[in-house]
């Protein structure tokens, strides 16, 4: 185990996979500038800067993926994905099906998301739910350095298009990461970060830490909680979600993304259908407001659900 940042963990994952598989290529705005070490090791054909044009970056990834490469593209900030929705959703997501399985689209699209830099709603907008709603895509959003590494490696090896969201507040957060180049975290498995019996806190990204903080405080008061880190948002680890909530009977879902039609809605709906008889209390969602994120630092910070809100929510239902 070593302690490295999330950013370093991602770079390691990419370099290891490029070393392992000559079909892995990476490109995007500034990818070769930032990744000049990758250029040195893997050459300018496999590590490229691009023109400033998200649509063609994503489209090129899809075209390359269909014909033998395994592209990893960096589209910088989640709101910039809006320029690549056709390529990601209509092409990468649908063309395997529409071709009757003739073509596959093994590609990873990285973007950064969430509060932390005070740069406002055109940089800070949590859009992961859109891709959960779109068929044919997988969606990942880790919370620890080890998972960033292991999930990115798994995403690169996956035969399907994977949207990889990096919460910017975590980018420079240090964390323990296993040694060696075989640390893989399979897609589709949630992690139970803490065990308890009175309620389940379900989250992903930076608010996992908010939940852990709340859980700690609640524990002191004699209330114990499961804390489930989803890690992969599509496919959702429904089994782990149901197992925990069937045990505790209570759930609070926490994420920064605005509420309507978000991941929290999906989980709540799964519970209302499949864990109904186990539920002892309303299923609560704590989310960012359904409003663009302000740049102003205090407002940006307040946008994100915090431990106090989580504690109050849990107290309200136990």
């Amino acid at each position: 185990m070593r302690t490295i940042t999330v950013d370093e963990a991602m770079t390691e994952a990419l370099a290891e996979e490029m070393r392992r598989d000559a079909r892995v290529v990476t490109f995007g705005e500034g990818v070769a500038t930032k990744g000049y070490k990758l250029v040195q090791e893997f050459g300018a054909k496999r590590v490229r800067n691009t023109p400033l044009a998200e649509g063609i970056i994503a489209g090129t990834a899809a075209g390359a993926a269909a014909t033998g490469l395994r592209p990893v593209i960096d589209l910088l900030f989640a709101p910039f994905l809006t320029f690549a929705m056709d390529e990601l959703v209509n092409s990468a997501g649908k063309l395997r099906f529409l071709s009757g399985g003739q073509f596959s689209f093994p590609m990873v699209t990285i973007s950064r998301t969430g509060a932390g830099w005070g740069v406002g709603a055109q940089h800070n907008h949590n859009l992961e739910a859109w891709f959960v709603h779109a068929p044919g895509l997988k969606v990942v959003m880790p919370s620890t350095a080890a998972d960033f590494k292991g999930l990115l490696k798994a995403a690169i090896r996956d035969e399907n298009p994977v949207m990889f969201f990096a919460d910017i507040a975590l980018l420079f957060a240090p964390g323990e990461v296993p040694d060696g180049d075989d640390h893989i975290v399979p897609l589709g498995e949630a992690a139970l970060r803490r065990e308890g019996s009175h309620a389940t806190l379900i989250s992903y990204g930076k608010t996992v830490n908010v939940c852990l903080e709340a859980a700690e405080a609640l524990n002191v008061a004699g209330i114990t909680t499961d804390v489930l880190d989803l890690r992969t948002l599509k496919p959702l680890d429904e089994a782990s979600i149901l197992a925990s909530v069937k045990k505790t009977g209570r759930a609070v879902i926490v994420h920064e993304a605005g509420g309507p039609c978000a991941v929290g809605a999906e989980i709540s709906a799964i519970l209302a259908e499949k864990a109904f008889s186990s539920l002892k209390a309303p299923v609560l969602r704590l989310t960012g407001p359904d409003a663009p994120a302000a740049s102003s630092f205090p407002l940006e910070q307040a946008y994100v659900p915090n431990a106090e809100r989580v504690i109050a929510a849990v107290r309200g239902i136990v």
């Binding site: 075209g63 390359a64 071709s99």
Partner: protein, 335 residues
């Protein structure tokens, strides 16, 4: 062959060349007739409610045939919603195309695609995109695969004048130019974008004017003359193959039927339509080949009959084919 050999053209050579040219012309004619016959049958099936809405390329066959015949067997193709011509010219089985259009299990994509997204991996047809511009967005990536993995194949992407007004046109051209990707861009400028006249959407008459500033060689050819298209396409393909750089070929043509079957073309100026019907690429070539004695009227009839039979058989195959099972609704979504 040395340069010296090249310079001497004997009578035998000339004759051989002529025979080759003639064979090519006759084959091209048959290929165009196959497309025309196929698409008219398609429209007929639609009119009889035996098939859903679909787009024909009637009037544009010379473009499809001239370009596709210039490609090598390993070259890759992406195309748009008006793709039956490209598929047939590439040698696709008309029965499986009909079946796909009708949503039958024997279609190239198991009936999931319908007419609008057909791909045929074994023929190197990566994509029919019904998102206008989708073919342009994927083409550079397909060429990137060749660039990274090796080989001398090139990528041809067919798109319309309408696609040229989408932003992705700019992005695709520019990326191909900057990255030196082996892409042959073929813009089929048919004067229409669904129900909008092309000249309402751009101030240029030739889309090739837009390609030049990217540093991409660009040429416009009479898209209703299959021999002219052939010649231009051969030059273009040779350029892309040798230089590993993009080239832009515009085939200037006309969409003789409506945008999507059925379509009464009420919005089309009848004089303009009549003018272009007079420039139909097929009768023109037929007349020329008969005139020049390359084929006789009788041989022409034989070709037509062969094509007709092929299309009828294909339609019958498709009509008899089963629909996919309901289980196919959720297969092939993930690998």
């Amino acid at each position: 062959m040395t340069t010296f050999d090249n310079a001497v053209e004997t009578a035998a050579d000339a004759k051989a060349v002529n025979t080759a040219v003639n064979t090519n012309a006759v084959q091209a004619l048959e290929a165009m007739l196959l497309i025309r016959t196929f698409e008219l049958k398609s429209a007929e099936l639609r009119a009889k409610n035996m098939s859903p809405n679909m787009c024909t390329s009637v009037g544009q066959e010379a473009s499809a045939v001239g370009v596709v015949r210039a490609l090598g067997p390993n070259d890759l193709i992406l195309t748009n919603h008006r793709s039956a011509g490209h598929l047939l010219a590439r040698g696709a089985d008309p029965g499986r195309i009909f079946a796909e259009i009708m949503g039958k299990a024997t279609g190239y994509c198991k009936g999931k695609s319908g007419s609008l997204h057909i791909s045929v991996k074994e023929l190197g047809v990566i994509l029919t995109s019904t998102i206008v511009g989708g073919e342009l967005s994927l083409a550079p990536g397909v060429a990137m695969s060749i660039d990274v993995l090796g080989g001398d194949a090139i990528v041809t992407v067919f798109f319309g004048d309408g696609a040229a007004t989408e932003g992705i046109f700019h992005e695709a051209l520019n990326l191909a130019a900057v990255w030196n990707l082996p892409v042959l861009f073929v813009c089929e400028n048919n004067q229409w974008q669904a129900y909008v006249r092309r000249n309402e959407t751009m101030l240029v008459d030739h889309v090739s004017e837009w390609a030049k500033p990217y540093g991409v060689p660009a040429k416009t050819v009479d898209g209703n003359d299959v021999l002219a298209v052939s010649a231009a396409a051969e030059e273009a393909v040779a350029y892309v193959r040798a230089n590993r750089k993009p080239y832009f070929l515009e085939t200037y043509t006309y969409r003789l039927r409506g945008h999507m079957e059925p379509d009464d073309q009420a919005y089309v100026n009848p004089e303009e339509l009549a003018h272009w019907k007079g420039r139909d690429p097929i009768p023109a070539l037929e007349a020329r080949l008969v005139d020049e004695g390359v084929v006789t009227a009788g041989q022409l009839d034989e070709i037509k009959e062969r094509v007709r039979l092929k299309v009828e058989e294909a339609a019958a195959f498709a009509i008899e084919s089963p629909y996919p099972s309901f289980a196919e609704m959720t297969t092939d979504v993930y690998a």
